[in-house]
């Protein structure tokens, strides 16, 4: 089922909070509503950015292309279990929150500081772990059930 390219997407949440709904317009002009249980929406949220990066690389023919949101606002909160939640928001409304332990937070702060102090001297990125994202391996139309395993 083909979805129209230019119509506005409307997102909703059921009154129970258990189902998320995405309202599209089909290519033939008919409304198409996709209802996802919370857990499936969570899985799709996790997986979709990888697919988009893969698509972007195919569109641009650039294997290093990726989405980078401009940072508009950020917020750091301390949770009751002594962890930190960092929320980053882009000007166009994309907002994502990451929870981390204080040690990770401190290490991230150090890396940010280091890069900010000597950006032109840094030929390579500061990488906390050597494992880099394997984007696109699973995005060629083959069955990828592992992609939709419930996030831990």
């Amino acid at each position: 089922m083909r979805i129209d390219k230019s119509s506005a997407l409307i997102g909703r949440v059921a009154a129970s909070g258990d189902t998320l709904q995405a309202d599209f317009t089909g290519a033939s002009g008919n409304p198409v509503s996709v209802l996802l249980p919370f857990d499936q929406a969570k899985e799709l949220t996790t997986f979709l950015p990888k697919l988009l990066t893969d698509a972007l690389r195919l569109r641009t023919q650039n294997d290093e292309a990726r989405f980078v949101f401009a940072l508009d606002k950020w917020k750091i909160e301390i949770t009751s279990d002594s962890r930190l939640t960092v929320t980053m928001t882009s000007p166009d409304g994309f907002e994502v929150s990451f929870g981390m332990a204080h040690q990770e937070c401190l290490a991230l702060a150090r890396a940010l500081r280091t890069e900010a102090e000597w950006p032109s001297d840094r030929a390579e990125a500061s990488i906390k772990r050597t494992r880099l994202p394997q984007i696109g391996d699973s995005a060629r139309g083959v069955p990828v059930p592992e992609c939709f395993d419930s996030p831990k």
Partner: protein
């Protein structure tokens, strides 16, 4: 048309990168293939985290609740212009988001993170003393 997903099946990108294909099974067990143009898939990806947060608030009855990803790894790099820092935060299950920011904002964020991390570290230390 209303599609109630029972199970997500497969996914893929067309060779030209213009379309994201999402296959799912509806509640009748019928396999449905959704062909999302790149722009619509992008809109969905941007909308979903917010919807998850709304859902968490409804489910918990707490207006301050939010959907939080657990940080798995991160990466900080300098963009080619040497003035923009790119921070990529990732979860262990594959979600990632990259944000670009000017150097001065990067410093501010670093300072705030350090301050809050130290506050937590002190609090944890006091708890154990």
């Amino acid at each position: 048309m209303e599609i109630r997903s029972q199970k997500l099946a497969t996914c893929g990108v067309t060779a030209d990168g213009e379309t994201i294909n999402l296959d799912l099974f509806d509640t009748d067990g019928t396999r449905i293939s959704l062909n999302l143009p790149f722009e619509q898939a992008g809109a969905l990806a941007m909308t979903l985290p917010h919807l998850l947060t709304v859902a968490v608030r409804v489910r918990t009855g707490d207006d301050a609740a939010r959907f939080v990803f657990t940080l798995g790894e991160w990466r900080v790099e300098c963009a080619d212009d040497q003035r923009t820092m790119i921070v990529t935060l990732k979860t262990d299950d594959g979600f990632e988001a990259s944000f670009g920011m000017p150097v001065d904002i990067c410093r501010s964020l670093a300072g705030a993170l350090k301050l809050d991390a130290r506050y937590i570290a002190d609090r944890v230390k006091q708890t154990f003393n």
